[in-house]
Symmetry: C2
């Protein structure tokens, strides 16, 4: 799998938040139910995004989480980097530590290009863009399609 489950859940909930921009804090419980993600697991994932500075949280009634900046300024890359780290974008396809221009493996050049393709796609896509597309075309971000864009 390219991205960990935690990362995928992080992306889905980030899209959720981007589609609720201006609605203040959204409770994790609500998101976990609408996105069909284990509440406690999602809590931990969002804690990572919060400590990475991408979200801010608030305790108590009317608490929850929200994006710290506009979703149009948050790229998918930022979410992925905060949860799965950037190893995917620097690592060697053959798993050799320190593989790079100076000390490459036979696959380095080709893989570096491919890897950059993934990175550029993620960097060039922001949350609001996807949320708008999802809403406009009524696309799903949950398995059962139970999620409704608002």
């Amino acid at each position: 799998m390219l991205l960990s489950k935690a990362c995928v859940y992080g992306l889905r909930s980030s899209l959720f938040l981007a589609s609720h921009e201006g609605d203040g804090y959204i409770s994790i419980r609500e998101m976990s139910e609408k996105l069909d993600i284990s509440f406690h697991f999602l809590t931990k994932i969002l804690q990572q995004l919060t400590s990475a500075g991408l979200m801010e949280s608030h305790k108590g009634p009317k608490g929850g989480v929200r994006l710290t900046k506009s979703g149009s300024e948050v790229s998918l890359f930022e979410i992925v980097a905060a949860i799965d780290g950037t190893e995917l974008f620097t690592e060697c396809a053959l798993g050799l530590p320190g593989c790079g221009v100076k000390k490459p493996c036979p696959l380095h050049d080709k893989w570096a290009d491919t890897r950059d393709g993934i990175r550029l796609m993620l960097e060039g896509t922001n949350l609001v863009e996807l949320a708008k597309k999802g809403k406009k075309e009524n696309l799903r971000i949950t398995e059962d399609g139970g999620f409704e864009w608002i």
Copy 2:
């Protein structure tokens, strides 16, 4: 990680075999030592490649494994598909089962392109090509660089 450890080891040993084309069966013990991979683990990985038809094995003294066809006809994609499966090349970036043209997620189009980039790179690269490059430019396929192309 893009590829599992097993897959990476499978690729490294496939490159080894491609650089030994025509030398008959190569013992797994020898490969495990030269590539610094756990012998038993490598054995299981090569069993997968054997049952996938990419390699053939022979027991007893002078036994080992060898490629069933010329390494120039074996793409990296075939090795990856035999060990990690093709899920990576069909799966949804948001982890939604059945995501595709008919029932896409908001990221589907962009990810499908990126995914194809990975696939094309792997399909367009064969074992001998890499082994030759590795030998010519003296590139490493082990962590410590202890491996020597012959």
